[in-house]
Symmetry: C2
């Protein structure tokens, strides 16, 4: 433990605190608040956690929690490791002597914090304190969070901002500090970054040399996507073994909100289990179909309408206020879209809750699927409309956009401005590329800004606002005691820091990368520089996320995971779709979609479908081959796993070998021919001459006799060989 230095001592020590529980009582009656608080500290005591309480901001208390005895914590660690072993996460049982077990595998910070968190939140029946933040009798428990290690955070940010590539060691460090779930996210982002180097370089060359909509670029890009997805699956297993978490996803935690319909006896364990009928769940799951259709219709209509308005205004309309009206669709989208998305996400949550899953993992997967549908529409429909409706069918569809002229009629100065130049309308083939560049560059920059800069400004403004408020309150001589009033001198800085950490948001792993991957796999043939943009974005994203965790968020509670989760399926699906959209794009826009006579190529349905068919089946074939190739690859993690299994097997075998050794071997049973045994046999035979089996086996004693008699048979037979052969 570092002794407090002269400079910013508050950042140097966490006062041995393991967790801080923020208890907020602003809207609770005094007696209830006191009673509940008493229950809280009382609940923490029997699981061996020491507590200290201090004042918090805005009617809250901060309960500091630490482990009362390291020795006892080790007991918990051992129990957890035994449990892992029984569930097959570890191939070898932990060393039986605790000290030795911890020496062999030292307890890292994330494991320690995870186990203490479990002690606080696990149900009493499982040996925890049973504290469930924001729920039931623990409604006042606002959050349970660990304190940042500022010295490490500073070092981390400094290191990452000066380093181009992350090393495996860096990821291990994240895992040791923040747990496997976050480490997996960083590992994936890092792996994605490394993989992006190739399409970025190739995309740049393609952009320079191959021209737009190059089929060569399309093939290489598709192949890259396949390899990336398959390689990541391989990598994931390797990391899971390296971090000792392979199989943790099979240790499923039961959802607290699961409502059972009946109780039955488990045919396996004989225990009573709570069951919700699968058929009933299936019925509810079928609601996903109308949900998906509804989402497509609602979001699709909005996007298509805005798209139509935009084209009408920018390419047909010629009246007044054009420069202002051009922003109308963007305005509609940015205001209405988030509202609709919010409503639909809310609806999806309700639907998933209704589906009543038994485990957290199943719930999360079901929710992710629904979110994916929503994201898919909002992310890719605008581009799809341009590529697959506007360009091929523009000549037919665009004239119908005249209906919008009714809307702008009030602004029109004369009828002429409203008349669409029906014959003169030509498709703008540059439109698609512009849109793609917007999504690949502009939107990413805006996103990054929203993620990093906006919260920073918000925080700055908020703290300024609070300062002003405090000043005003002091002027009014307000009676509200400052939370820091009762702070001891030497703790003041530390407590101020904890109070500000208590106000921060809870970090959740981001899923932006899925969206980027989709643009790359589905549409990057439109603009081969897409990967270059994403490469930069990814590099920044990694750093921005690290910064976010360190500065803007509470320290995340370590969680275990052995995969990046159900998003992986989304990546595979996007790659598959990419094989189709890319084929269509290349077919439609080869040579910029302009035929030799300057008008778009006439599209032949069979040729388009044939290219889809060929492309998709090539994709499936290549995926199959890549899977086989990747499955043959070895990796340090897999070797480690096999070595562990081998050791375990060997030990088992040696243990049972002593027993096997006691078993008589067949070799010991080889019949010994000596006079005694022969005589004995003869005697026994004479007693029971009626068993033909005895007689049969009594003719030759031992292999020597068999060999002798056999030789006799051969001797007699061989001379006739020539004739025998002839007779045959």
């Amino acid at each position: 433990m570092a002794s407090p230095g002269p400079k910013s001592p508050a950042l140097q020590t966490n006062m041995d605190v393991d967790y801080v529980i923020s208890y907020r009582f602003a809207t609770t009656e005094k007696e209830t608040a006191i009673k509940r608080f008493e229950r809280l500290v009382y609940a923490l005591s029997p699981v061996g956690l020491a507590t200290e309480v201090r004042n918090g901001n805005k009617h809250s208390l901060l309960v500091f929690v630490k482990v009362a005895s390291e020795e006892h914590l080790f007991g918990e660690v051992y129990r957890s490791r035994v449990n892992d072993w029984i569930h097959g996460v570890r191939s070898a049982a932990p060393e039986k002597e605790t000290r030795r077990a911890l020496e062999a595998e030292p307890l890292h910070e994330a494991e320690r914090l995870r186990i203490i968190y479990q002690l606080i939140t696990n149900p009493v029946t499982e040996g925890g304190a049973g504290i469930t933040p924001k729920e039931g009798e623990w409604k006042n428990v606002e959050s349970v969070f660990a304190l940042h290690d500022h010295a490490y955070n500073k070092e981390w940010i400094k290191k990452w901002s000066t380093q181009y590539l992350l090393k495996p060691k860096d990821l291990d460090e994240i895992r040791d500090r923040l747990g496997e779930k976050i480490a997996f996210y960083f590992a994936f982002t890092q792996s994605y970054f490394t993989f992006l180097l190739f399409p970025a370089a190739f995309g740049f060359s393609a952009w320079l040399l191959l021209g737009h909509y190059s089929s060569v670029y399309a093939i290489v890009n598709c192949l890259w996507c396949v390899i990336f997805v398959e390689y990541w699956k391989h990598q994931e297993v390797d990391l899971a073994v390296r971090w000792g978490v392979r199989g943790v996803s099979s240790i499923q935690t039961k959802r607290r909100d699961f409502k059972h319909e009946k109780e039955t006896t488990d045919p396996v364990t004989g225990e009573t289990v709570q069951v919700f009928p699968a058929t009933k769940r299936l019925q509810r799951q079928l609601l996903q179909v109308p949900f998906a259709i509804g989402a497509v219709l609602i979001l699709g209509t909005l996007i298509a309408t805005c798209f139509g308005i935009e084209i009408f205004i920018s390419e047909i309309y010629n009246g007044p206020l054009k420069s202002v009206l051009v922003f109308l669709p963007t305005g509609i989208l940015t205001t209405v879209m988030p509202i609709l998305q919010g409503v639909l996400t809310n609806f999806a949550t309700q639907l998933t809750t209704l589906e009543n899953y038994e485990t957290d993992a199943a719930y999360e997967t079901a929710m992710t699927q629904k979110i994916f549908v929503l994201n898919f529409i909002t992310s890719y429909l605008p581009l799809a409309l341009t590529a697959f409706v506007y360009v091929p069918f523009g000549q037919i569809v665009v004239p119908y956009l005249d209906i919008f002229s009714l809307t702008v009629r009030p602004f029109a100065e004369n009828e002429k401005q409203l008349q669409a130049p029906r014959s003169g309308f030509t498709i703008n083939p540059g439109r698609l590329r512009k849109q793609m560049i917007y999504f690949a560059v502009t939107a990413q920059i805006v996103n990054l800004g929203m993620e990093v800069i906006v919260p920073y400004l918000k925080r700055q403004g908020f703290s300024k606002y609070k300062e002003l408020q405090s000043e005003r309150a002091a002027k009014r001589g307000g009676t509200a005691p400052s939370p820091s009033e009762s702070d001891a001198q030497e703790e003041a800085d530390f407590l101020a820091r904890v109070r500000s950490e208590a106000e921060l948001d809870v970090y959740d792993v981001q899923t932006d990368l899925r969206e980027m991957f989709g643009y790359l796999s589905l549409f990057s043939v439109i603009w081969p520089l897409t990967a270059v943009s994403f490469l930069l974005n990814d590099w920044l994203e990694l750093r921005a996320d690290a910064l976010k965790i360190c500065v803007e968020m509470q320290r995340p509670t370590p969680r275990r995971a052995d995969t990046i989760g159900p998003w992986l399926d989304a990546l595979a699906f996007l790659t598959w779709c990419g094989s189709i959209t890319t084929a269509v794009l290349v077919y439609l826009f080869r040579n910029d979609g302009i035929g030799p006579d300057g008008t778009p190529y006439s599209i032949r349905g069979w040729a388009l479908l044939l290219s889809i068919f060929a492309s998709e089946h090539t994709y499936l074939l290549v995926r199959w081959a890549v899977r086989i190739a990747v499955s043959k690859m070895d990796s340090p993690g897999r070797q480690k796993e096999r070595r562990e299994r081998y050791v375990v097997r060997k030990r088992y075998f040696e243990e049972s070998l002593t027993l096997v050794g006691q078993m008589p071997t067949m070799a010991q049973a080889a019949p010994q021919v000596d006079r005694g045994s022969l005589e004995e046999e003869a005697r026994r035979e004479s007693l029971r001459t009626f068993r033909p089996e005895e007689k049969f086996w009594g003719r030759q004693r031992g292999w020597q006799e068999t060999a002798l008699i056999g030789a006799g048979f051969i001797e007699r037979a061989v001379p006739d060989e020539a004739e025998g052969e002839k007779v045959q």
Copy 2:
């Protein structure tokens, strides 16, 4: 053991014989033959096998082998079970006391025979006698086979020929007698039969009610194929668990013919392993591509030529000898095809050997893939040509068949007979159905005949021939001693039986069902009665195979398996292809392929491709849904497995629980507040007042103090609640 009854005693007893080794020395010199024979019986002795030798037919000896001591065999069984457990095939270790282990799980006949066979054939280093029939120094060992249990066989045949459906018990019995590999084959055939009941009934109704090329039938049939394949995968796991062989395919036996290129140290076990570089193998595997192309070209050309000739003769040619010439293509096919197939299969074997696989399983898989390509062409190309070339493009292609008129010119009586009625040629839409009926009915009957009746006749004729020969030899006073000359009176019948069993062929699991499944999935929309025909065929096939095993073949050596093998992938592939061909067939031939004006519909490329696209993606979607549904299904086998695992886990947990119990729990560490400890702490604190952490944690002793102080904070804060809320 049944005592020999008065009737056919030879069929009542096997003389306690476990295995018979047939030693043939017809083409070996006398001394060598004697020496090798001596080595054979000598090798059998140290592994605890007793031997007897008798004369065999045609310059051969029959070595009878039995286990010398049951007690010692049990040791081997125990060893084998421990090995299974270590490889994860069994979830629980076998009982430590042998007697008890065998009582808990009695040794069934197949297990006994399998273990004895291993004793004979395993290398000496692994505790076997190292006898490898027909190879190296054991070139004279023609075969190693067990004797039929005729009493059981008779009962088996009788039972099956009077019973419509096989029960799980019947399959268990086969497994107990003949081992898991054959039991799996029968289980699959039986499962296929049960599943066929539905498409047979539905196909019959479709044939009556829906007309030809019904899209409803097509959809139902495709769905059925998907469900069958997925269900069988599920069933397979269940059976493997039931028979205790789940995972045996992972115990891979090294191929004897594997040639290593270098030796490296295994990073896992530290042992020296023989390695063949994967890249080199890949290079050789790439030869499969020219092989497949070559096979397609060669077989395709043959089939297409015969097809062309047939159409020319039956539909264009009008000259003399038409009634004879019509059989020309069939004649060519039946003579040339088997030769070509033989050559190509031989080539495939060489290619697979060149690929130099390390394990038997990998070799078999690679070989199966190649055979599948050959079978695919010969089985389905004729139908595909009619459906996808003759009908749609007949009008264009058929006139070119004129070239054949050059061939028949010598037979022509006048020029007119050779002139194709170019304008008059119409496609014969009934042709496809006739062809389908041929493959679904006629060919199956012919096959069944070839499989059962021909060998029977052959055997009858052969024995007649040998009888005549013996008589002739006797007349000539030949010196060739009859093998039965030296037989003891009471053994004569038995030995005669063994001699005839020694002449029989070795049974290998048939793969006909794959071919049938292909017709059903790919083409049955042509003729919905296909399934009815296959249902009958399958019923007969099951019985015919049982008969074949009992009568025509040596008793098969029991082998273990946990799957029907790589053919399962072929079934999945055929189902996938079926989703494409069925769509094409329905599109091309809806309403019998005849438009309202009596000529074939004009085919629109985009519509055809669109129906393929829709059908294939529906297939993929349905397969995904069916997989999920099937994966949710429970089964007795799975329950058994989970129960066993649960028991093992529980035992482990209880074993380590004693240790876990010794670990201190966190609850024991709950701080006790009493005067003494408070004073002690105060003293310690005064000693080291400089550590701020100590000070921080020293303020509140125990949860009671924390609760008290927290209550104070709340007390002071709450009155300001109203204002606090306002200030916020």
